[in-house]
């Protein structure tokens, strides 16, 4: 006899392989073993020994083989008994319909029909409405349908948003990538994945590892531009791209981008940089050769012409979390963002590379100013207390759990702060703030009451 694969042992101590006739399956009582299909049972020597052995148990297996075999008896005796045909013992028959309820006499369907028949019409309608409501709640909030619902352009519009997450920063080339770095990456990615699957957005995780290409052309950290371009091509339905650095954590996954920002864009976005101007940029431009729109502090004033939305931190633009809209303007910006002549003149001053380059473009180019909007930093980019800490706690900049800020960006934590510690704290805080009702009941009520009564802390 030939086997297509080598036989492998099964926990019972035999060999699960086709064509082998086994009966030592670990059970105490011999079962009707399946005989070999070819009629000539082949047995391994050890199996034969076991089979013929006096004990009846395989030598290396015990009787306790898992939950079901251990509790089979107690479980089966607790199950409701259904009398099955002629095997019903005589004594039972006599008590028919009295002591023990018998399913056979009134079938389930019949019973239901009976209940329905006795119900009034109004009750029926109400029941049906109730059923429909429950069904709708399930379909729209708990089934996978909700994902597609939220993605579709008609209902949720989620496919208009793509999140780009910059992962694997440096790729361990310049600095050692240890367990903490991996943990940060894992947490950050999981956080965004959950958020994206909840709201039907797309997530693009990009690899920011140090590449020779950019290092050679002196354009480290301008990869951003290339990645945004690639994503625009990869997701043709995307309208807004949201760039996120790795050290960010979405604290409130229940906020959708639409609700939080885009449905009321004109209310949230400010285009006149004088509203908050840490860089002291002269605005608006006053050159006589420009048109009225370029000289106006708010561009054309129509919120739909905003193509780049970014927050400002205490020291200027912050590109850790920003939005760009698909448009011809964006193509142009991504194209002129890196320029060798600008780089050659400025790379010694530009500590933050592409961020400084953007500031420079904003200052010099009216066409960029016209289509740039700013968001209050704490809407999409709150800082932990460690960042921007020179002037103490700033309500414009720093995370406040009372206000349930949307996102925390541990900006600059790699320069002397503890990235993983911050990430862990904010992760736990986010879980704590977003506990479900049941968790709140357990932890805020039961555990507290228990503590008052017994003086012991209970872990529920």
């Amino acid at each position: 006899m030939s086997l297509s694969r080598s036989p492998s042992p099964v926990p019972g101590g035999g060999w699960a392989s086709p064509g082998l006739n086994l009966s030592a399956s670990g059970r105490s009582s011999p079962t009707k073993g399946y005989s070999g299909s070819n009629g000539t049972p082949v047995m391994w020597e050890s199996a034969r020994l076991k089979n013929t052995g006096r004990s009846g148990y395989p030598s290396f297996s015990t009787q306790n083989q898992g939950f079901f075999s251990r509790h089979m008896r107690s479980i089966s005796s607790n199950l409701p008994r259904f009398s099955s045909g002629n095997q019903t013992p005589y004594a039972e028959k006599e008590k028919l319909g009295r002591g023990q309820w018998s399913a056979k006499s009134v079938p389930l369907f019949g019973r239901l029909r009976g209940i329905m028949g006795r119900m009034g019409r109004k009750v029926k309608i109400r029941l049906i409405v109730l059923l429909l409501v429950f069904l709708a709640i399930f379909v729209f909030y708990h089934s996978p349908l909700v994902y597609y619902w939220r993605r579709s352009s008609w209902f949720g519009g989620g496919q208009k948003f793509v999140i780009i997450l910059a992962a694997n920063v440096g790729g361990g080339v310049m600095e050692w990538k240890g367990a903490r770095e991996w943990a940060i990456e894992r947490d950050s990615v999981r956080n965004k994945k959950k958020y994206v699957s909840r709201w039907g957005y797309d997530l693009e995780i990009v690899d920011m590892s140090t590449k020779k290409r950019y290092a050679h052309e002196w354009r480290e950290s301008w990869e951003k531009v290339d990645f945004i371009r690639t994503s625009l091509r990869k997701y043709p339905k995307a309208e807004w791209i949201w760039w996120l650095d790795l050290n960010t954590f979405i604290m409130e996954p229940s906020y959708s981008l639409q609700d939080h920002i885009f449905n009321n864009l004109e209310r949230h976005v400010y285009r006149d940089i004088n509203e908050y101007n840490p860089l002291n940029i002269t605005h608006p431009l006053t050159d006589s050769y420009l048109d009225a729109e370029s000289r106006s502090p708010v561009g054309d004033g129509n919120v739909n012409s905003v193509n780049l939305i970014l927050p400002q931190d205490c020291s200027g633009f912050n590109l850790g979390s920003f939005f760009v809209r698909r448009s011809a303007w964006t193509d142009r910006l991504l194209d002129v963002w890196w320029d060798p002549v600008a780089y050659e003149q400025k790379h010694m001053e530009w500590e933050h590379k592409e961020q400084d380059a953007l500031e420079q473009l904003y200052i010099a180019q009216p066409w960029i100013r016209k289509h740039t909007g700013f968001l209050p930093q704490r809407m999409i980019n709150s800082f932990p207390t460690g960042a921007c800490s020179e002037s103490g706690n700033d309500t414009r900049v720093h995370y406040d759990q009372k206000d349930r800020d949307f996102l925390v960006n541990m900006a600059g934590c790699e320069w002397g702060r503890d990235c993983w510690g911050e990430m862990y704290n904010y992760r736990e805080l986010s879980y704590y703030l977003n506990r479900s009702l049941w968790e709140r009941f357990k932890e805020d009520l039961v555990a507290v009451a228990w503590f008052k009564l017994t003086g012991q802390k209970a872990k529920l």
């Binding site: 006589s288 050769y289 739909n304 066409w367």
Partner: protein
């Protein structure tokens, strides 16, 4: 053991109410039931109508709430074209400058164009060479004529020679442009690896200029008014290029940005030099022949024996005659 019998039905069941259909008996309509039915029916229609209304409102809100593309200003083409020229009144004599102005104005009047004359020194250049004025002046013209169709920048040392040719037909008509544009030509001759696009459509071209022997020539170029034009002029005029000391100032800056930024190159077409940029002498580029739209005086100085004014004498009579005859 026995159970209670179910209650009996009465022996005298109540008679069923006769079925009432609207056609059968009008007398039954006075009874209670039809009124109830009618009320229920009206409830039903009311509910349906309400539902339809809500759906309608929803659809309208959805459609109305769609963000369209921001309403860009579409130039209406009045005037069709604007001639831009920058004059250096400090270095050149007044009669010469007046003659050039006269040439431009006559050409513009012929076709209903406008002229835009700027002066060197009018704009703050932050220490950059004066030739940068041409770039900022063109940007100024874009702001001043938001509805102009095209802009033709023509250097001061040049004459329009053929008043019959209109810029929007001679150069910018898409079909004509597709014939004229030189594809796959190195942007900077002879060996730049960046070449003009080979698959450009006439209507996508917003910027037409020529090459001479040295490279791109910025003495005469045509620009289609629009967002892109502003983008080009502002990028070109970036302070970072002005402070870089390009050997040929704005000309080399243009060569630089066009080679590094494909969004700029994608709207640019090179045409043969004699289409709009003939030179008064051969050697540096194509020489002027009768019938060309314009002539530029090349290798001339503001003053002295090789002055532009003396060079212009050869063409001064010619353009006046051709304008008179046209």
């Amino acid at each position: 053991m026995h159970f209670a019998y179910p209650p009996r039905k009465t022996s005298n069941p109540p008679p069923f109410l006769p079925r009432s259909s609207p056609s059968s008996s009008s007398s039954s309509s006075s009874s209670k039931l039809p009124g109830l039915v009618r009320r229920r029916r009206s409830h039903k229609t009311l509910a349906l109508a309400g539902l339809a209304f809500i759906a309608l409102v929803y659809v309208v809100i959805r459609l109305g709430g769609r963000h369209g593309a921001p309403g860009q200003h579409k130039p209406s083409g009045k005037p069709t074209a604007v001639l831009v020229t920058v004059f250096d009144e400090a270095k050149y004599s007044k009669p010469y400058i007046d003659m050039v102005k006269d040439n431009r104005i006559q050409y513009a009047q012929k076709h209903g164009y406008q002229t835009f004359f700027a002066k060197v020194g009018e704009y703050e250049l932050k220490g950059a060479p004066a030739s940068w004025t041409s770039v900022v002046a063109t940007r100024h013209a874009l702001a001043k004529f938001p509805d102009a169709g095209y802009l033709w920048y023509l250097d001061q040392n040049s004459f329009v020679m053929n008043p019959l040719l209109r810029i929007e037909e001679h150069v910018m008509k898409p079909a004509r442009l597709e014939e004229l544009m030189i594809k796959d030509r190195p942007v900077v001759p002879p060996d730049s690896i960046i070449k003009t696009f080979g698959h450009l459509k006439g209507q996508d071209v917003d910027f037409v200029l020529t090459q001479d022997k040295d490279g791109l020539s910025t003495g005469s170029f045509v620009l289609r008014n629009g967002d892109w034009a502003k983008f080009l002029m502002e990028t070109w005029f970036d302070p970072i290029y002005r402070s870089y000391n390009f050997q040929k100032a704005e000309t080399h800056a243009l060569e630089h940005i066009v080679q590094w930024h494909p969004t700029l190159l994608a709207k640019l077409a090179l045409v043969d030099q004699r289409i709009m940029n003939s030179y008064s002498k051969g050697g540096k580029g194509a020489e002027y022949k009768d019938g060309d739209i314009a002539v530029r005086f090349i290798d001339c100085t503001p003053q002295g024996d090789k002055s532009c004014e003396s060079e212009s004498q050869r063409f001064a009579q010619q353009w006046r005659i051709s304008f008179k005859n046209a």
